[in-house]
Symmetry: C2
């Protein structure tokens, strides 16, 4: 049995789903993978939980909320990196929100974890989008593993396909529906509901955030495309290399016209070889897919990605739950694949 | 740079495609994966090629055929296992034909290779179908890796998804279109061509073998289903556990009726939980899929598989080249993932 002591950063929906999952899956983790995953410390922006012993869920979570007041395990105002320094952990699980402007707080936490030679798994895109090569180099230097399935479409296995399943093949291009929110809205617009009504419906269902510009503007898709392309192609693209167009300018008429011709409109992140194979073109924008396209039927909050290769033909993967539990499952998968 | 000395068994289409691929990909194998893959010996049923030095392709292949007459490297009548004993290899690449009755010659070769503590990759289903647990136990005992993507739908990544991408999730069921030949025939029948004409066309195109009963009878699908289920679920099913029905009894009318109702007929291999989760039901047979099924549009020689899970939702992968080069690419992928 191998013990994996987890430092959990971020106690929002994904972080709490991760805790649920780890305790729910304790049995199969032991029997199937020989792993004992224990949450040793858990932190949010204003402090952390730590007792020196593995934390039971009810020591910091009560009825689906975080329990601080009167909690003996709660260390208020303790800096997360200070808590990391005194915690006997081996793996950071980063469930903090994505910030594309600063990469924080993820950038600080990932840097500290790798600096301690901990492995790290993250569901946050910001730090990797801003400092991909720096973080990967730090991981290599410290002989620590850094994985980020949770940040690259979560339960849809984009990186597993690109790294393992297509090993040895040249990837000539890829196209993905990588954002569930905008795909949901586009699907509803395709069904005849105006854009504003579709967006409102998505908000009401908790699919769209109060400020949806990150999703409908194409930025979330661009961030995932960047991580997938850099990882699977071994490149060092930055956000400046990606032309980004969202779906806000689309009208019901645009979508109707595509459907009349047997097509469907999707927000695609694309990375294609150009210049006879010498360069790459990266872009995010609405595309009309015809009915033979392998992503044609990826509707609602579902996601999907297609890889074109030289030796293995075209490989497409679709599905994967688009919710905090799916993201938590992706984090747990990365932990298993690092430590199994 | 890590050297991988390959013993190649079988010099049919897949074996020769593997040789082409290894030499074509020598550059990326070195730069991307730090691997120097060298064919040290190559064998077919009536002898082998061996010089004590890595073989260049033109030392045993000439104009896409195997060169024996007057070839100084050719050792006629040498038993393959004797050649294995004197070859300084570390990896068996098994491209021999599948034989579900005896598992041979694959069973003998895989047993010998693992016995030498070589890693082994195979595109042949027979030995694994008959002796799955025995071979896996031998591999574990000898601390040798045995992989068989090439036998489990080749360039379609079935095992990569089931083992890595879904790690930590419970697989509740899976359904696959796993045989390109029968899917091609069914697609043509769906387009209105009678079964016999569809089969003849598939034969003329080299998609169906002269004796297609293995494919159209559902046995190839059953063999792949068995390998995928045993690997991804950690089970020990045998062929006797699978109810197998082929597509030979289908008529154009059956398929037309399905299409009239908006469906399509596919030969599916299925593995589903039964008895409230206590048992499993495995079967192969024609199924009518409705247009929302993720495999609905998998047509022609294409393949696909859908996994239903508890935490990650439904994940479907489709595509992957269905030809000897695709199978060779799957063998090379397994070599890379073992040795990288």
């Amino acid at each position: 049995m191998k013990k994996v002591g987890v430092f959990l950063a971020g106690l929002g929906h994904v972080g709490r789903s991760f805790v649920d999952l780890v305790y729910e899956k304790a049995g199969p983790l032991r029997t199937r993978y020989g792993l004992e995953v224990e949450v040793i410390a858990a932190a949010k922006s204003d402090g952390g939980f730590h007792t020196g012993q593995p934390l039971e869920p009810d020591q910091f979570l009560r009825r689906d909320t975080v329990w601080t007041d009167g909690n003996p395990a709660w260390k208020p105002a303790m800096k997360v990196t200070d808590l990391m320094a005194v915690s006997e952990c081996g793996c950071l699980v980063d469930c903090t929100p994505s910030d594309f402007r600063t990469g924080e707080p993820s950038l600080t936490y990932l840097t500290a974890a790798l600096g301690h030679s901990w492995s790290a798994v993250t569901a946050a895109k910001g730090a990797l989008v801003l400092a991909f090569r720096k973080l990967m180099n730090l991981a290599r230097e410290k002989k620590a593993e850094l994985r980020f399935s949770g940040a690259a479409a979560a339960a849809l296995p984009t990186l597993d396909i690109g790294i393992s399943a297509l090993a040895g093949a040249d990837i000539l291009g890829m196209e993905g529906i990588l954002n569930g929110t905008s795909n949901y809205i586009l699907t509803r617009v395709g069904e005849g509901l105006p854009y504003e009504d579709s967006l409102r419906e998505a908000r009401e269902k908790g699919i769209a955030e109060p400020d949806p510009s990150f999703d409908v503007g194409g930025w979330d898709t661009a961030g995932k495309l960047l991580l997938i392309a850099n990882t699977c192609l071994g490149m060092e693209f930055t956000m400046d290399d990606i032309r980004v167009l969202g779906i806000t300018a689309l009208t019901v008429e645009d979508v109707k016209r595509a459907r009349k011709n047997g097509g469907t409109v999707k927000l695609l992140g694309k990375c294609e070889k150009t210049d006879g194979g010498r360069g790459w073109n990266l872009e995010v924008g609405p595309s009309v897919l015809d009915h033979r396209h392998p992503l044609f039927r990826v509707d609602g909050t579902e996601k999907g990605i297609t890889f074109r290769t030289d030796t293995m033909g075209t490989v497409t993967v679709t599905g994967g739950r688009s919710n905090p539990r799916g993201a938590a499952a992706a984090l747990l998968k990365d932990i298993i694949n690092i430590h199994r």
